[in-house]
Subunit: 350 residues, 2 copies
């Protein structure tokens, strides 16, 4: 059996991280990379990753996806360009129509039905018509505040309430995340950003609440309620990409609630900030299920977002290739797993 | 769509617990129960469960499986009679040949390849020939020390070592478990039991280590190494079914190790005892992954074994019905989940 052939579209922090991960794995190869950034177009994947090419064929980054695919038949594309389904849609459609399976990092794609029911139906239809599969995944949404919650309810006879809390550090992230979260702003700038909706904050509560409720059979009686509060720093904080003066914003604390028959049944709590340890905040991932039995899980420190998203997307490749055609979410496929052997060993013969 | 119809074979603590759980769920009904116990044969399922029959058809426990199945076409059988694959094999074979899907509580069936490769191949063949599916599951093996470990590695780029620890209380369990674990014995009786192999202890390390290594692509270079040490109580302990004098055995501490290329890569630690709190032992489930990233998970207190096994078996019903025919393990199917809605909503149309 030949290597599994992967296309990467979007070579930012996530896409390039997936490339570095894939270059270390057996039974898989990167056969093309699409990226628009002028500093990267025309350069070798191996140079950009700082990895010896060895006897592998070179891969030159190109800005035109049609040229990337030309002469490079691939099994799957990893799409790491967008957060929202509507933005990712034309790219996913293009890839599916080229008969490629697709894994998207777009947060909304983790459970697109929550925000884009029409595009969801279209994507499912296009994927089926072309005999391929599309999945959205990542660390969160994708695992921490949804799939892991669902898996733990598997040990429950009954579930009454669910709370998922992710307290994480934004310190490793770059300028885009700092901007989305309002890091470094004054309190009034932050308030204005929330009002204007220019601060995206965490994208994923709709998806995580949607995925959990769908999985366990709760019907949401109203849209997910969300709030976003500033985390005001009382000390000076600094990272490579952000600086926060005392009295200004170190991050944001988001909450989300899913209601069933008017009762709050699913609660999401997600405070994110740079340098949380400076004011004694311990990071971690927590799941609390009230039911039969009660379950209280903690992962300390939190599973890091960047590495986790990279790993989830790459590790789901075999499951997506094996899947029935269509749009899938993490609750439809077997559990993710690290791939320490030959990736081809995980491919089921049809 | 008609209700999902379930047969239960074995009406001990697990089988009767599954019955009670099923009687509370929507879209599913119990259409037959097979059990040998003279106190139960001939009695009504509803009486035995202490549940109002309402307008449901009565179900009388019968000792002959052929008579249970007669005139009661079912979708799936829950088999809660054995711990070992060779003992469960003829029963599973019978059910598969009657074109029933099967979920078995036998610990070895969670990953039967580990101990019974020939029977595994036979079961897979029989299931496929009859167009049905067989799965072994439970809380452990089935979730805590294997599937949950696998799912967490999904967030890892690389894994170097895995440790799973389950510190649990045996207090809720009955006489069979007390005997298997040596609870109440003197230290010399316990030593003799380990030597004679009359103390089964925990059955599942072969299966959990086998499942993890298969899932992530590690090839075990030797059989799983296991040890069983007594937990000697320094205080008096008592439960409904066991009594331990100071100096005698409150339970057993088992360890298991999986080796890859001669190196210990997977470690299982599983001390079980009655009344652990009397000597300050905190119960819990722990998973520690050394890799990229490191992951340290704790569930405190532990997910209880009895309730957890009951829930896992019932909650996997839709996934087993939806599955391709054959022998499956938990790593082949979508994640387990609580079923709070109508069970039929989880059945995929073929």
């Amino acid at each position: 059996m030949e290597n599994i052939r992967v296309i990467i579209w979007g070579f930012g922090a996530m896409g390039s991280g997936m490339a570095r991960m894939l270059l270390k794995k057996k039974g898989v190869e990167i056969c093309g990379v699409c990226d628009m950034h002028p500093d990267r177009v025309g350069r070798s994947l191996f140079d950009l990753c700082g990895v010896e090419k060895g006897d592998r064929q070179d891969v030159i980054l190109q800005s035109d996806i049609a040229r990337v695919l030309q002469g490079h038949p691939a099994d799957i594309a990893l799409l790491a360009t967008d957060s929202f389904t509507d933005k990712a849609f034309p790219k996913i459609q293009y890839l599916l129509e080229e008969k490629l399976n697709v894994i998207s990092t777009a947060e909304e794609m983790a459970f697109p039905l929550a925000s884009e029911p029409e595009l969801t139906a279209k994507l499912d239809e296009i994927a089926k018509a072309n005999g391929v599969t599309v999945l959205g995944t990542g660390i969160n949404p994708g695992l921490i505040m949804d799939l892991l919650v669902v898996a733990l309810t598997g040990a429950c006879i009954d579930v009454e309430e669910i709370e998922a809390e992710r307290i994480n550090s934004l310190s490793p992230f770059g300028p885009a995340v700092m901007e989305e979260q309002g890091v470094g702003l004054t309190p009034s700038e932050f308030a204005q950003g929330v009002k204007d909706k220019t601060l995206a904050g965490h994208v994923g509560f709709n998806e995580s609440v949607g995925m959990i409720s769908r999985a366990i059979g709760w019907k949401l009686s109203e849209p997910v309620r969300q709030s976003m509060e500033p985390i005001v720093s009382s000390v000076y904080r600094k990272t490579q990409y952000a600086e926060v003066q005392p009295g200004n914003i170190a991050g944001s604390s988001m909450k989300g609630s899913g209601f069933v028959d008017g009762k709050e049944k699913i609660r999401m709590i997600h405070p994110q900030q740079i340098e949380p340890q400076l004011e004694g905040t311990e990071t971690g991932d927590y799941i609390r299920i009230k039911g039969t039995p009660d379950i209280s899980m903690a992962i300390k420190p939190e599973i890091p977002g960047g590495i986790g998203t990279i790993a989830m997307c790459v590790n789901m490749i075999p499951h997506v290739i094996n899947s029935h055609p269509g749009l899938k979410t993490m609750i439809d496929l077997p559990v993710p797993r690290a791939i320490m052997g030959d990736m081809r060993d995980l491919i089921c013969s049809p």
